[in-house]
């Protein structure tokens, strides 16, 4: 059973993570970690609780260029934040589907990303919003695009002795819109069978983030410009964009079902994102 350590400085936290190496796990919300401990799927020697650290980045800082999110921002705080709601509607929609109110009151956005579940609800919108992470260790900081950060199921670029200390979201371009759609078996406390986030810019270039249809959350390259009113054009874009999906069959759905639903949800997400391209209309 793990030991528990609650450092008060970033330096102490990084030193503890470095000393314990593979055996250490940072702890923020614990909503995933404690389930792993209970089922013995995770057997860390040391839990490093980040909630007492006073010199980590603030939970959320808004600048002219975007928002910077620290490890202790909960999903509940995220979805209630007025700037996040205005700039990143797909992320708010996705975060609102995670667990339940009580889960969202504990779960951390950054830590959810570090768990790197292929079905993580927050991953597709973070990908389409071009999230970057800052990975810190005793040696210093490095940054990576979230797309490069996800390596495979529950595997990320964040290695032993390292900690993701910040997640940055650039401010979306004027006139762009985003939306999130997902399929689950029941509303609340269920993992996604398929999830899709879409972003479309003022000229009609589409980027999709896909969850639960590959070994890691996937992001597509921007498409050719498309007019959302042109159904055949949207279908062509989706044909190209969805080629990267490679879902497996499991208890939540077969490969074929997932591919069929992905197509439906992706179209809905693109059209909903297109409808949001004029924020003033949305605010009313």
């Amino acid at each position: 059973m793990p030991n528990y350590y609650r450092p008060t400085t970033r330096a102490d936290a990084l030193a503890a993570l470095a000393a314990a190496g593979e055996g250490a796990r940072p702890l923020v919300g614990g909503t995933d970690l404690l389930v792993g401990l209970r089922h013995h799927t995770l057997e860390p020697e040391l839990l490093v609780d980040l909630k007492g650290v006073t010199d980590l980045p603030e939970p959320i800082v808004v600048t002219d260029d975007g928002v910077r999110i620290g490890p202790t921002l909960t999903l509940g705080e995220l979805v209630a934040h007025p700037v996040v709601r205005g700039w990143f509607p797909a992320l708010v929609e996705a975060a609102l589907t995670v667990g339940s109110v009580a889960i969202r009151n504990r779960a951390s956005l950054v830590a959810n990303s570090c768990n790197a579940s292929p079905a993580a609800d927050t991953a597709p919108p973070l990908l389409v919003h071009d999230a970057r992470v800052v990975i810190s260790s005793q040696e210093g900081d490095r940054t990576a695009a979230l797309e490069e950060f996800f390596l495979g199921p529950r595997r990320t670029l964040c290695g032993p002795g390292e900690l993701v200390t910040r997640l940055d979201l650039p401010r979306p371009e004027e006139g762009s819109g985003s939306a999130f759609r997902r399929l689950t078996r029941r509303r609340g406390v269920d993992l996604a069978t398929v999830s899709v986030a879409a972003r479309i810019d003022a000229d009609g270039h589409v980027v999709l983030g896909l969850g639960a249809v590959g070994p890691r959350p996937l992001r597509t390259e921007p498409s050719a410009a498309v007019d959302p009113a042109d159904e055949a054009g949207v279908d062509r874009v989706l044909d190209e964009q969805l080629e990267i999906a490679s879902p497996i069959s499991d208890v939540r759905g077969s490969r074929e079902y997932r591919l069929a639903m992905l197509r439906v949800l992706a179209k809905r997400a693109v059209l909903a994102a297109a409808d949001r391209r004029h924020p003033r209309e949305m605010a009313s």
Binding site: Y4, R6, G30, R38, D49, G76, S100, A102
Partner: protein, 170 residues
């Protein structure tokens, strides 16, 4: 010893945790892996908070931690050091609350096992949103499962409490 799971924890090192439970300062000595749920039930001696799925799916263990609803099965006791916990016993220190009365009036209590968690979740919902719509009630309570499927009456109980608190007459 046949597997790691056969370990007993009698020899685990205990940590002293001081927290405020229902307004009183309490100190408990627990191993670091003890959940807040088990700490409340077994160390503090408050069995109103129920243990069911123990993985954050069912909401039977819902308590308020610094005023926010959380699943106490997903919080370690040691994480609660210095924090304030309110359990169902704390909500009803002066007898049944209006919310509990409305649960009874609506016939929302069947086997009763999920009710402490339902009441704490509903109390949190009403404190953060005093006049929720039916959809907001269903969303706010979606983390609390009732195996008797008393959901319609639970929603009615929350609606009745909201109306009562706003001075309405339902």
């Amino acid at each position: 010893m046949t597997s790691a799971r056969a370990d007993d924890h009698l020899l685990d090192e205990l940590q002293t945790v001081t927290l405020t439970v229902n307004g009183s300062r309490r100190s408990v000595a627990v191993p670091p892996h003890r959940t807040l749920l088990d700490g409340l039930r077994e160390e503090v001696g408050l069995p109103g908070t129920k243990s069911c799925c123990a993985e954050g799916e069912c909401g039977a263990c819902t308590v308020l931690l610094d005023g926010r609803a959380v699943n106490s099965c997903l919080v370690l006791c040691v994480e609660a050091e210095g924090h304030e916990v309110t359990t169902i016993e704390g909500l009803s220190q002066d007898g049944l609350t209006d919310l509990q009365e409305e649960f009874l009036n609506a016939g929302a209590v069947q086997c009763g096992f999920c009710i402490p968690g339902q009441v704490v979740a509903a109390e949190y919902l009403l404190r953060t949103n005093p006049s929720p719509s039916e959809d907001e009630i269903r969303e706010g309570m979606s983390g609390n499962l009732c195996r008797c499927a008393g959901y319609q009456r639970i929603v009615r109980a929350v609606q009745a409490t909201a109306a009562r608190r706003s001075g309405g007459d339902d």
